[in-house]
Chain length 434, copies 2
C-alpha cells in the first residue's frame, strides 16, 4: 500500500506543473509590465508575527509548532506579515515607493471542503510608501490586467470595491458606537451568505436601537457611490462630510483613465474579513459560477509600524492559484504541456552510442533541447514511441546509409514531414525550426 | 524593536531575489536542454516517509511536528522521497523513463554554523526506469553542463565518482563481514575530515583482523580505476571478478563521448552518507576553496519499491543554492539586478494625470514594462530620482511644449542620450529598444 501525501496538499506531476508554470509565467510577466520586483521570505515565521496582527484566534487556522530550540513557529498563512517585517527591518533605508511582488506557497490548517486546500500558492503585489489612492488604483489595474493577460474579460470577472474608512464614517454618522464597529464589519462580511432573517436577527444582537438599524439597512442598500452620497445627505450632512467618499470618487476616475471602468463595481458588502485594512478594500470575483473570489486586497497603513518599522502607507492584493486554475480550465485558456524536448535522437545502428551522445552535446551546446534512449540496442519503433511519450517536436535519425552520405534524416513529429539534412548544417537547420 | 525572521532562514529582498532568479533561470534552461520536465510536491510529508528510508535517527535533523489532526508531519529535508512516493503512487501507469527535475525549498534542523542554513533551495534531477549506467552518465553530464552554463570550467570544479556496489564487492573480497559494511561506509565518508591516527583508531574499532585492515588501507590508496584493477588482482581475483568495475569503466567511456573527461575523477572516498545508494555515486566539488560539495547524487534502485511501487531503477542528483551562490559571487558570474521597468514616465505638467496613465497602459499593452510616480505634483527632479531608484532604462517625458507638437522626449538613462519621438510612434520606437 503506497504511502500518501498529506491531506490537503497536491503532487504536481509534470503535466500539472506545466499548467502551474503557465500561470506563474503569466504572473511574472504581468508584474514586470507594471514595474514590480520579486521578493521572497522564509516558509515559516515566529508565531508572534501572525498573532500580533490578527490576534491569538489565528493560531487555530495555522500549522504551528515548537521547534527543537523551543521557539514557536508557524508555516506562513499569508505573505503580507513577512513583507511588513522585511520593510520594518530596513527602516528608513528602504527606498520608497516599494513595488514588490511574490509568487509564494502558503499554508492554512482548514477543515477540508471542496476547493479548500491546506497548501496553496498566491501571487502577492504590494506598494509601500504611497498614501494617495493612486496606489490603490495602480494595484486594482494590475490585478485586472493580470486576469486580462490570461484572456479573461469583463464578462468573466469584476472588481468590487469599497472603503473601510467610509464604512466607519457612515456607521458613526448612523449613530453606531465605536465598539460595535468590529462585529458590524464581521456581519457585513458574511451578509451575502446568510438569509435576510438571519441577518436581521444578528444585526439586532449588535445594535439594539431600531432607528439606527433602519439607517444601517438603508446604508447597506446603497448600490453605487451616488446612492452613498444621497444616503449621507439623509443623515443631515449636506454636502456630505465624508472624506473617504472623495477618495472612492478619485479611485473611479483613475480606473477610468486606465481604461478599466467596465471592470469596477462599487459594493458596500466588501469588507475583507481581516481586521487590519484601513482604507480602500477590493475583491476580484468570478461573475459566472459561484461568484468566488479570485483576488482580494486593500490598504493597510498600520502594519509596518506595528512590527516596529517607520510609519508606512501600504496597499496590496493577493490572488490564489486554485480558483484561477479552475477558471482557466473551464475556459480552456491554458495551452497543452510543452514538449519535453525539441529533438529526440534515434539510433539506427545501436544504443546510446558515441555518435548519438556527440550529436546530443552538439545540439545542447547550440541551445537545442534534446534527448535519446538510454537503453542499449532498442529498436527504432520503440525509440519512436519514447519520442512520442516525450512529446518531442521532431526525431533525428542517426546512422544508417544516410550518415554514410553525410546526412541525417529529420522527421517532424507534428506534421509527419521528413527531410534529409547535411550533418554539418543540423545546428543551423534545427535552430531555425524552434 | 523589529521582529526578526527565524534563525537559519533568509529574506530575499529584490536584489537578492534577482540573484536567486538568475540561478533558477539558468537551472531551468539546463534541465530543458537535457529534456527534463519539472515536477513539485508538498512542502511537508508524513514523517514515516523519511524514517522508512533513513531510519528513526533522521528525525533529529528535521522540523517535525504533530498537526491538529494528530498526524506526524515533517518539513521536507530532501525531495527524493517525495519523488519516489509520487512514482510509487502511479505504479505501472507512469511512462518510463521518467526525466524529472525540480527547484525546491528544503528544511533541515541543523546546528547553526557558517554556510549552513535551515532553509535552502535545491535543484534535483532524476531519471527513473533505466538500469544501465547510461542514466548515471547522462546525469553526471547534466550536472557538469549545469555548472558550465554559469561559466565555470574544469579549473573550478570536478566530478568525483565511485560505486557503492564496487565498494561492497571489494570490502567482501578483503574479507570484511556484511555487518561491518555500514560502519565502514560511514568511516570512509568522513575520512577526508579526520587525521590519519583517528582514522586508524576508528578502523580498528570496526575491523579487528590486522590483515584485513591492511587490505582496506591498500584499497583506500587506489587513486584510479587501474589501481582498483591491480588491487583486485592482489586479492587473488585475476582477471578481477568485479562486475561493478566494468560499469565504472563504461561510465568513464560514456563521459568521454560527452566530451567531459576533464571533469571526471575517480575517488574511492565518495560514499554519499545516505544509506540508500545502490550503485554509482558522485559529487561535484569546488576545486579551489574548501573543496566544498556543489552537488551530489547516485543510484537508488530500491526506493520506489520501498514505498510500495513497482521495482524501479533510479538515479539522480541534487545541487544546493548556497555553495553555488557563493561560487558565483566569488567569480562575479552573476549579472547585476535587471531594471525594475523599461520606461519611467515623467509628468512635466502634473502628477499621475490621465495622460500618464493612458500612456502607461498603452505601453504595457504593447509589452513594454513601465511605471510612473504615484505621488501628485512631484517635480521633475524627484521623478527622475525615482526612475533612478527603479533602475529604469529610460525616461519618457509626458506633457510640456513637445506634447503640443505631438512629441514626447525620451531620455536613455544609461547613455544619457535624448531624442524626440512622435507620440504616434512610441510603441514602435520603444519596442525596438528592448
Amino acid at each position: 500500500m503506497p504511502i500518501q501525501g498529506p491531506k490537503g496538499t497536491r503532487d504536481f506531476y509534470p503535466e500539472d506543473m506545466a499548467f502551474q508554470q503557465f500561470m506563474f509565467d503569466s504572473w511574472h510577466k504581468s508584474c514586470r509590465l507594471y514595474g514590480f520586483e520579486q521578493y521572497e521570505g522564509p516558509m515559516f515565521e515566529h508565531l508572534d508575527l501572525y498573532t500580533q496582527k490578527s490576534g491569538d484566534e489565528i493560531e487555530k487556522q495555522l500549522y504551528s509548532f515548537e521547534d527543537k530550540g523551543g521557539r514557536t513557529i508557524a508555516l506562513r498563512p499569508e505573505l503580507t506579515p513577512t513583507l511588513a517585517r522585511m520593510a520594518a527591518a530596513k527602516g528608513t533605508n528602504l527606498k520608497r515607493p516599494v513595488r514588490w511582488y511574490s509568487i509564494c506557497r502558503l499554508f492554512r490548517y482548514e477543515r477540508m471542503q471542496k476547493g479548500r486546500l491546506r497548501e496553496f500558492i498566491q501571487l502577492n503585489m504590494d506598494i509601500l510608501g504611497i498614501e494617495d489612492v493612486s496606489a490603490d488604483a495602480e494595484l486594482i489595474a494590475a490585478a485586472v490586467d493580470m486576469m486580462r493577460a490570461f484572456g479573461f474579460d469583463d464578462t468573466d470577472f469584476k472588481a468590487r470595491v469599497s472603503s473601510r474608512t467610509m464604512l466607519e464614517e457612515l456607521f458613526l454618522l448612523c449613530g453606531v458606537e465605536r465598539d460595535q464597529l468590529k462585529p458590524l464589519y464581521a456581519l457585513l462580511d458574511k451578509k451575502g451568505k446568510m438569509s435576510g432573517d438571519d441577518f436581521s436577527r444578528e444585526l439586532e444582537g449588535i445594535v439594539n436601537k431600531e432607528d439606527i438599524r433602519g439607517k444601517i439597512n438603508d446604508m447597506f442598500n446603497c448600490g453605487c457611490i451616488d446612492d452613498i452620497e444621497r444616503f449621507a445627505g439623509t443623515l443631515g450632512s449636506s454636502p456630505p462630510q465624508i472624506a473617504s467618499l472623495d477618495q472612492l470618487k478619485k479611485l473611479f476616475a483613475l480606473i477610468d483613465s486606465y481604461g478599466l471602468s467596465d471592470y469596477l463595481v462599487f459594493d458596500i458588502g466588501i469588507v475583507r474579513g481581516l481586521a487590519y485594512y484601513t482604507g480602500i478594500v477590493f475583491e476580484l470575483f468570478d461573475v459566472r459560477g459561484n461568484l468566488r473570489a479570485i483576488a482580494g486586497g486593500g490598504r493597510y497603513d498600520n502594519l509596518v509600524g506595528l512590527y516596529g518599522g517607520p510609519p508606512t502607507p501600504a496597499a496590496g492584493f493577493a490572488a490564489g492559484d486554485v480558483v484561477l486554475g479552475e477558471l482557466l480550465k473551464s475556459k480552456s485558456l491554458a495551452p497543452p504541456p510543452p514538449p519535453r524536448s525539441d529533438v529526440f535522437l534515434i539510433s539506427i545502428d545501436s544504443g546510446a552510442s558515441a555518435a548519438i551522445i556527440n550529436t546530443a552535446q552538439q545540439l545542447r551546446a547550440a541551445g537545442i533541447s534534446c534527448e535519446f534512449s538510454l537503453k542499449d540496442n532498442q529498436n527504432v519503433g520503440k525509440q519512436l514511441k519514447s519520442a512520442d511519450s516525450a512529446r518531442s517536436r521532431c526525431a533525428l535519425f542517426i546512422g544508417g546509409d544516410e550518415a554514410k552520405n553525410g546526412q541525417f534524416r529529420l522527421k517532424n513529429l507534428i506534421t509527419g514531414k521528413e527531410e534529409l539534412i547535411n550533418i554539418s548544417e543540423i545546428d543551423r537547420v534545427l535552430r531555425g525550426m524552434f
